[in-house]
Amino acid sequence: MKKYKFFINFDKEEKWLNDMARQGYLFTKKTLFGYVFEPHKPENAIIKLDYRIFKRRGDFEDYCALFEDSGWEHIAGTKSSGYQYFKKANNQGSEDIFSDVDSKAGRYKRLSDMWAVLVCCFTPVMSAIISSDVMDLGVLRDPKTLYQTPGLWELNGGAFWSAFLFETPFALFRGLLWAFIPAIILIYLYFLYCANKQYKKTQEDRISRK
């Protein structure tokens, strides 16, 4: 079974995966936007999430080995996927993959750093768009110029509508392709903001707990 979902909060994602396990669906694989589940006997699984990208294969192996040795099965994630999923394998060992607040908050820091890098990568593309004439704000004032069918605006009734509707997707694509990049930057900035907020919130837990 496959489910499409997107989380920006590790704690909520963990809770959802544990709920699915309780209903008899064991999380086995992560794709770009989806989660793959396999039918399994319902269990009170403890699935935990870390966020780490590895430069070297050996570092990733060492990391997985440490978790396995201490009772956590690595169920999903690759060297460069960032998201690393672990399931508690037995009754021994710790209840969490983090034993202090700083390291628990640290995964949000690494996530927010990653979004910051992505924003930085897209910023030159954005400035290239602004300095070139691809971004034509004039079309927003006169959208008719986006349509290139000869004599389209002189047509009437059904002929007009079928030609108009046919060309609309192409017109939007032509006119608004540039808008895709700022949209992506805005989305990444939002994720960056959320990850940072979660980072601070997790760190504050320490103060309130004391």
């Binding site: 192996e61 997985c64 080995a65 978790f67 201490s70 672990f86 710790s94 993959i97 034993s99």
Partner: protein, 103 residues
């Protein structure tokens, strides 16, 4: 003399450095820290991994030769040993001064 900015060491860092006086891989460090601290300090895998990474960055520990292809072995460096000794001196002083005043 001005105190090194990394002092005082946290309890976990102190025990990790102490454990690595003999080279060890990740899980062995975890077990040794628990043993050396008399069961008081129990580190989870994610926390320990981050701590090791940080200590390697600070050059307090470094990777050593490993016979296991998957598990990296770490050992304390001279800089790490210096830190451990400085922190020991700091704590010795605290113990001495406290014992005197509480007599």
């Amino acid at each position: 003399m001005e105190r090194d900015k990394h002092l005082p060491l946290t309890e976990t860092v102190y025990y990790i450095l102490l454990a690595l006086v003999e080279p060890a891989h990740g899980y062995l460090i975890m077990q040794k820290v628990e043993e050396l601290s008399g069961g008081q300090v129990r580190m989870a895998a994610g926390t320990l991994y981050g701590a090791i990474e940080n200590l390697v960055k600070l050059k307090f520990i470094q990777p050593a030769a490993s016979e296991d292809s998957r598990r990296k072995v770490y050992a304390i460096t001279n800089k790490g040993l210096d830190m451990l000794r400085l922190d020991l001196e700091r704590m010795k002083h605290m113990i001495d001064v406290t014992t005197d005043r509480l007599k």
